[in-house]
Symmetry: D3
Subunit: 282 residues, 6 copies
């Protein structure tokens, strides 16, 4: 399975915005004052921790938008694993551009590699089970597209990208509608044929009702492994089963062992620490 | 000391962008299909973990931009500490708007409260020392203004906001210039009288050279507490002293005890996990 | 079934942009030069043709963005049918604002009502059959969200909103992949669990292959009613069936009679003429 | 007479916006999952109907913004006539880019070629008469610049581009001002010397008054050919004469025969169906 | 003659952009740190020089976008003359907002009032003559709409707003075309009936040729008063006559006395000094 | 001392916006109608007045954004002095692009060169004194970054770029705080260690108070040379001294002779006339 890419036209506004945020109104005072305009340099991106890389296109674009003559040669592409000290890429060109874009490039790269690494840690933990690790809508505001990409780079898959590409009926929707059946019926009437419907269920009774309504997927929220196992048995392939609820690399194996199709984890995108990657001037 | 606020005109584009990212092209399918347009509800923002709150203005704006009739009453303002179960705010109005804006509001609030909480944990650890905790430029792309605000909400202070509001001469600048003196001289010639100059030093010899040049601040990078103590003694108030290098709540007290003025910490903004805050429908 | 609404935050940029396009650099020269600033007027939106209304929120916003004191009272909401001469809404306030925003408001209203009316004509033609009328991605650049809304207002349903909310495997994808099976397999591996997969088939052999792969929907392209009937029989409820290929109100009934689930029609959004609606000053 | 072009800097935002609208948050799932990154292809743009081409620059830009290595060779430039089956252009390059940009490119090309074709049909109908066919401000919101260009490509000419580049005094303005003379006088006092003034007249008495005021042009609204002929005689070259009022290819010749200078037609831009153009992979 | 206004929807982006430019990433540090949030104040806008006011709507919007509770009462509206010490407006509300928006508001007001004042000085100098003072396209990048408004506020009129609202054939166009006749003919063929054509002429021979072509206006560039007088006589009302070429309040009367219709002056918009207006806290 | 440059990524939005402002909705009617698409030309930028050049990068970008094949060779770079008749640059390429971008390029170049020239006139007037000439926040809305650059090109230095990169405590802040000491204390508590604090003082008593508080700089507002001399003596190097108050080239030498460090001048950016630079076709 290859990694679904990011379209350059989609990431350029993000990188441009981040650079302008850092340049402010006066630009890179330190570098412009100190570094001669014709100085060139070669640098390497080096992993200071082990993990999975994601975001090299954004880093490359940060350098290129500041200085089109900067060139990057990638040694370990997005989705690749690194050990501490591993050279990820070589980046060379005018020294001013390298210094000015460095922090923005690293901010993207560290953040996305952190998400990829976190995802990979859970994916690895459940290897051998059929379950896939998926992310949620608990993303950093404005960065959903690239954070979901980082999850893919780490071996995970994507849940909804937004409120509009699938129906996910939660407890409050059910309460307002007066029951699962009413909620599902209204959703079916309102949306197109390519929109899947998933329902959050807290009990096996709710699960039974959802299954009889023929929903596409069920979100089994905060269930114990034992409950999950019963749920999976009850579903018997009639719907996609998704387990959620503060699952960690430590608890993931027991969840995966229940036979669920998906394990969704919010902290991959909202709380993964950065992967420490540095830029070393040669 | 009160908390320097965020100007509404500065945060509106961020909130608007985040909402549109979530709404996509078709809007909130689930809610619009299921929830009657005239249904109203009351909800409460509840802390599920202990920590420090930050970002209520962004959360309130998320609700108001989706539905101007939604009103929020704040019980624990930004900068306030919460224990698990604490009600932070009451939010009421049309149920559709509450459900549609919920995730965006929580994404801002959880992220910023996470940063404030992390900051607060270090600030608390060094209470009694004069040192202030400051953040860096290692921020999430596009969110620097609000992440720096969250650091303030947690009791910290702000370092540079970008490449253009202060000079920070790092090792690579010094190498290019051929020494600290040359680098500082070029910087002085190039920037205005209200721009401070800080120099990163790795050794006491470098520190001595920087002090003789009359720089405003020195960044003491990756020094041991013993080295820091010597450095502070050598500086003797002639410059602001800043310690940096992977400092944690556990190691911060020994760093603070050296008498440095500032402790700068990158992970506050790039790796703090969210503070878990939920929205409960009453 | 109620009409899924447009979020105000999503349409404001479109209306603002359209007004600025019309105002140019100097504004409404004619009105500003001739009409006194304190003149008020009452106007009515009147249908000059029979059809279905769509776009009143955009029209109202056009007036309000130019002049916040303009008020609109709606007599026939979006989705409602009108006969020639029917008053759709009453709009009153400062005369300058009414005259300046008039064309922009009518351009939105006429265009969207035209789409709703065209949709309604086909929906009506197949009344009694189970098939739903759906639109395509053949929309006017920049207006997809509101044109898809207009289709809903006319009683139709929505197909994909873009390249990213469902997989639709067409002949060229199949040719590149070397067959339907390979294409479907690669798609399954690449996308999330809430993304449905539809395959375009031209023959019953292809249909058979697609069904055995368990795809969610099949696009039966340019088939005769007889072929469609065979296809529907072969599918036997295992997938959603979609007929396409220049279907008109005249040919739609025979297509619908084949038992397909969906009839997709590109011209609803790319070639429907406007519904003639005028603004009469009282 | 050559065709006044579109400046690339003016169309790029439109094309970029349309592509992003289609890519959404996750990009082209189908193509990215199925088509290998190194696959190249050659395609041809083929007319499936006879008509006049317009919008090739926008189509080319759509492909190039997605994939800079895609190249287009034009065989029939904008303004050229095509018969069904005619190859308009050859487009070759990476297959992913071709598939991803295809729909956006065709949406622009079909829409603008549809307008050019509609315009051409009326222009052809009145060949031999001096009258020119002109469009109005009844354009699709956001697309005025390119729709007016398409009218030119079809052999027509442009009326006002907005509210600010000419004065057009309509019945409501006259009513507010208390008469044509007052309206014209106020307009003259308010606008610059390069702004022409046109007045809408419904009767020959009004026409007489407008002519005595020395206006630049008169809009003869909804007049019969006989009335138009009288009007043209009365004007005797003192002003530009413009006929309007639901004129079609069928009725245009009799209108043109009256000797009017201009025939303005709203449906060219608001109701012309697309010209069916396809992209065939070789 | 009343002053053609600025539409609020047109100026809001300019004011918003200017405020954000001043707020940067951290906002008004000084005011937020020092001034209590609940402090209110009353201020007055006072002219420190005599001149003509323009730009009050932009100033008011600057205050309101920062703080909606700020209210402005205008004592001398745009276009009004002030003597030193004159109170132009009273502005009251939260002190923080007053201090934060002050500079942006004054920057707009001073700049536009400076243009209005410069315009007024020439308008006054030629009082009694029929000539009108008009501005050019030599405006500050990004501010054309409001600078042209300021010229109107000073009693002047507007020339072209851009390259697209009139044809102005200059010496280089004539040289390329191979003569005035060829240039005018090509222009006529290319543009719509509401676009006026003006030709720059340097000699009376050129003027004669232009007049025979029936152009709408002639730009008499850098002619002496004597040449202008001859030109006006030769034109004899057949075209609008415009004199240009570094005309000042001192030289304007002799130019106006030649009987030209228009005197165009670039420095009104590119070199007028600000009118000194201050904001005094009471 | 070299000239701190403008980052291309920072100026592109300004140039793009200015071009679009001039092109409007229909583009350069005159040039597109008259000049053949394949005509090329060579032009030279010529100084018509003596002064200092600034803004060549913006001019070059204006031409390149309209027509990528246009090339500019610079003979006198930004910061260089020119005499009347001096050729600043040679610009060649397609004639249409040269004519269309000409005015926008010259508007930037003339405006910025005007500021550079004005700055240079004061810098020259005080040559031999240690004082530096600095600009203020009294800039043209939206152009602060490039106007501050022009001041540097003229040999001046920059004051604050906005409200957020330094604290400047003015009389109104002092009044609200109840004294200089309270104001400075609150500011110190609120801002980061790299933010300098400057206080405006009107009397020597205030100066004394400010100095005892250890502020970084003092703004000596509207003092006579004698008062300035006393102030400088009193400061004795403990703070940066800045003189302000309507200082001109004529009065600057006597101010500089007082020994102040900085002379700040608002009119450099808000009232400098353009430097007359023309584009001559060869």
């Amino acid at each position: 399975m290859h990694l679904l890419p990011l379209s350059p036209i989609m990431i350029e506004p993000l990188v441009r915005n981040a650079l302008l945020e850092d340049l402010g109104r006066a630009g890179d005072l330190t570098t412009d004052a100190i570094v001669p305009v014709d100085r060139v340099a070669t640098t390497i991106l080096v992993a200071r921790q082990g993990g999975v890389v994601a975001g090299l296109d954004l880093a490359a674009l940060a350098f290129r938008l500041i200085e089109p003559r900067i060139e990057m040669t990638i040694h370990c592409p997005d989705g690749g694993e690194v050990v501490p000290g591993k050279t990820i890429a070589t980046i060379g060109g005018p020294a001013r551009g390298l210094l000015t874009a460095e922090r923005t490039a690293l901010n993207f790269l560290g953040h996305l590699s952190g998400i990829a690494t976190a995802t990979h840690s859970v994916v690895t933990a459940i290897r051998g089970h059929k379950a896939r690790i998926v992310c949620t809508r608990k993303t950093t505001p404005g960065l959903r597209t690239i954070e979901k990409y980082a999850v893919r780079a780490g071996g995970g898959a994507n849940h909804r990208f937004g409120l509009d590409d699938a129906v996910l009926i939660k407890d409050n929707h059910i309460a307002v509608a007066g029951g699962i059946a009413a909620a599902v019926e209204r959703a079916r009437a309102g949306v197109g044929h390519l929109v899947k419907i998933e329902v959050e269920v807290d009990t096996l009774d709710q699960l039974d009702e959802a299954l009889r309504l023929g929903v596409d997927a069920v979100l089994l929220d905060n269930m114990t492994p034992e409950q999950l196992r019963q749920a999976v048995t009850m579903v018997a392939g009639r719907a996609v089963t998704e387990a959620s609820g503060r699952i960690t690399p430590a608890t993931a194996p027991s969840v995966a062992a229940t036979g669920v199709d998906l394990i969704s984890i919010g902290w991959l995108t909202h709380s993964a620490p950065v992967l420490d990657i540095g830029l070393d001037f040669q």
